[in-house]
Each structure stands twice: as structure tokens, then as C-alpha cells.
């Protein structure tokens, strides 16, 4: 079953207290940030700290690192220090070309070989934060088999677009639509941008409901309190879970019988229906609504 990435929680990379506690909030992924949340003068300290905590602390979830862009003076050093600690995922900010992805892919391959990690074990994702990047979204997603997700970084994107964030979100509609399309076409997940006003729970819920409807797999979050609200929105209903269970049972039965036709209550079931059912069960298990543990176990 596909790895869930509903809540991807940013954690400032130079804050030991937050780093060591990051695993307790049930985020599907924690993203240790050595980019925007770290002062230029502290980049060296943050990457060393992130290296150490990844190596030492056991996190019950996926561990990602947002590096500085590789065209900055810090990006390659970030990779050099952090990759030997074996993060699960590298997130590139401000992605604009497939070429960047390929360069990082190669650096990761070298690090995997040098450190004896399985080839391809460190995944990648990228965030679109410029109009230029958005125009290349599909190529970026397809540039490496390591790519598992494409995210939107709205703050920079809107500055580039010469507009600001509104409560209804129409300024992001185009970008979100294109990111979903590119991600789906390339077979990777689509992750929405952060919602920065932590105290406006109503607006967070409205936005999250909207992006779930659009097809996003998850959202970047900046505060643990947002995670529970987000999971509630992504939670399937009891009726959806029941149906999904019956679909999967029918699928298993068809497989056992070596039958090419999957049927439920006399109706044919397509493969996409099975895929959707798996997704629903994944959500249900992650929330403890069904046994079997979350897909992150």
C-alpha cells in the first residue's frame, strides 16, 4: 500500500527541543528544515544537529530534510553532511528544472553507495515555489525514480505571482490544479502548502477540506495542533470503509481464483476502484478506525 503523507510537519532544524520531540505528534512525515527557518550564520550548526538527531533518535514516522537549494552556497554541503545519517526523504525547495533533480539524484546515489545504503532507499520530493517551476512541474516529478511527491510552497509562489494570500484561495487555484495534474501524471503524490496562521482553525479546516477535494494527498503543516484537524478531514466515513473492505475482499477472492474479473454484488469493479479502496483502508488504519496498524508501521 502506498505510503501515507497526509501531514508533513516542518520542524526548525536548529532547535534541539523541537527536533527531539518531533516524532510524538503522529505526523506521517517530519521535515527537518535547514532552509528558511535557519539563519545563514547557523547553517553549519543546523545541518550537524539534524545529522545527529536523525542518527540517534528513533522516529516512528518518515524523516525528511528540506535542504537549501543546490544553487545556493549551502545546498551541496547540506547533502554532504546529512545524507550519511540516512534520512528517508530529501525535499528540494524552489524547484525549477528537471536538471536540479537529476543532480541531487546523483549525489544521493553516490552517498548511498559510499555509506552502504540500499540503492534508491533515499527518496526525493520537490516544492514548486515559482511560476517557472510550475511550468516544469511534470518534468520535475518525472526526473528521477526517487521522486515520490510534489509540493506547493505558496508564500514564495504568490510573491512571484505578484499577489497575496486570500481567505478563499482563488490565487492558488491554478497552481494547485497544475500540481495535482503533474503529480498524478507522473505517478507521485501531491502535497499542499502550509497554512501559517496557526490560531485560525476554521480557515485551516476550510482550506484543508478544499485541497482534499481537489485530490491532494496531504499538506505541509507547521504546528502539531494542525495534524489532528487535518486527519479528521482526511478520515474516511464508516460507510466508505465498509465499501472499501468489501471491494478489497472481492479483489482478493478474484486473485485467489485467478479470475481476471472482479465483481461485487454482481457489479464489475475496475482497478482504480481497488486502488481507491486501498487508499481508504490506509487512512482508516492510520487513524485506528480499522485494525492492522497504520501503513507507516
Amino acid at each position: 500500500m502506498e505510503k501515507l503523507r497526509r501531514a508533513m510537519m516542518f520542524v526548525p532544524g536548529n532547535n534541539p527541543g523541537m527536533l527531539q520531540n518531533a516524532g510524538i505528534y503522529k505526523a506521517d512525515t517530519v521535515i527537518f528544515d535547514v532552509e528558511d527557518s535557519v539563519l545563514i550564520s547557523e547553517k553549519d550548526a543546523a545541518r550537524q544537529l539534524v545529522h545527529n538527531v536523525i542518527k540517534t533518535v528513533k522516529y516512528p514516522c518518515e524523516v525528511a530534510v528540506r535542504i537549501n537549494h543546490i544553487t545556493t552556497p549551502y545546498g551541496k554541503e547540506d547533502l554532504a553532511v546529512i545524507l550519511p545519517a540516512k534520512p528517508d526523504l530529501i525535499r528540494l525547495p524552489k524547484a525549477e528544472t528537471a536538471e536540479e533533480i537529476k543532480i541531487i539524484d546523483e549525489i544521493i546515489s553516490e552517498a548511498e553507495e559510499k555509506n552502504g545504503f540500499a540503492h534508491g532507499s533515499i527518496k526525493m520530493m520537490a516544492a514548486i515555489e515559482t511560476a517557472k517551476g510550475l511550468m516544469k512541474a511534470y518534468e520535475i516529478c518525472s526526473a528521477s525514480p526517487r521522486m515520490v511527491a510534489l509540493a506547493l510552497g505558496a508564500e514564495d509562489f504568490l510573491a512571484d505571482l505578484k499577489t497575496t494570500r486570500s481567505s478563499h484561495g482563488s490565487e492558488l487555484f491554478g497552481a494547485r490544479s497544475q500540481i495535482i495534474l503533474a503529480a498524478r501524471a507522473a505517478g507521485v503524490q501531491a502535497i499542499d502548502t502550509v497554512f501559517t496562521n496557526v490560531n485560525d482553525e476554521e480557515a485551516f479546516i476550510a482550506e484543508t477540506t478544499r485541497i482534499k477535494e481537489m485530490g491532494f494527498d496531504g499538506k505541509s503543516v507547521i504546528n502539531p495542533r494542525q495534524i489532528k484537524m487535518l486527519y479528521k478531514i482526511f478520515a474516511p466515513t464508516e460507510k466508505e470503509i465498509d465499501l472499501a473492505e468489501r471491494v478489497l475482499a472481492a479483489y482478493e477472492e478474484a486473485k485467489a481464483k485467478n479470475s481476471g474479473v472482479i465483481a461485487l454484488n454482481g457489479k464489475m469493479i475496475d482497478v482504480p476502484v481497488v486502488t481507491r479502496a486501498e487508499r481508504v483502508i490506509g487512512y482508516a488504519r492510520a487513524l485506528g478506525l480499522r485494525k492492522g496498524g497504520s501503513t507507516n508501521d
Partner: protein
């Protein structure tokens, strides 16, 4: 090896440690001054840990001030290594 510059890393926030390394006279060895809220429970361990780190980094004569705020070993190690690296940069 001795260092010539002063390097500092870390903060005084909870769970962090502020580490300052600076040169010491030849032959003085590794001089460590540690303050910590968990000195009774972990003082000996932290002292040994920092001293060993400095030794592994090839330092022989150095003064280290460590103002601990309840940092875990992984944080202590990161801060000590960064402080040492910074002292070397400044030494050039």
C-alpha cells in the same frame, strides 16, 4: 593539535547547550567547565563525553565552556563539533 581561534555553537534554550572552545596554553590539556541542571544525574557522563569528543577531534590543549540546558548527547555532540569547526575556520 591546538586551536588558535575561538568557536561557539548552540544556544541557551531548553534542551540545547552553548559550547565555546578556545585555545589553551600548550600542555594544559583539555580544560572543561560544565554547568548543567542535570549535573547530579549526568554531570560525569557529559564531562567524559565532551572530553572524549575533543580528543577524537585531535585537540590536545583547549578550553571548553559548556553551558548545558538539558541537551541530549546527540545535541551535545553536534554543538561541540560545530564549535570546534568554527574555531578552526577562525584560526586560519
Amino acid at each position: 593539535m591546538t586551536i588558535v581561534g575561538t568557536g561557539q555553537a548552540g544556544t541557551l534554550e531548553s534542551s540545547d547547550i552553548l559550547v565555546t572552545v578556545s585555545p589553551a596554553e600548550s600542555g594544559s590539556g583539555i580544560i572543561l567547565q560544565l554547568t548543567s541542571p542535570v549535573i547530579k544525574q549526568f554531570g560525569r557522563h557529559i564531562e567524559e563525553f565532551i572530553t572524549n569528543l575533543a580528543r577524537e577531534q585531535g585537540l590536545s590543549d583547549v578550553t571548553i565552556h559548556a553551558n548545558d540546558r538539558g541537551a541530549l548527547d546527540c545535541t551535545i555532540e553536534a554543538r561541540v563539533l560545530t564549535a570546534i569547526a568554527r574555531s578552526k575556520v577562525k584560526a586560519v
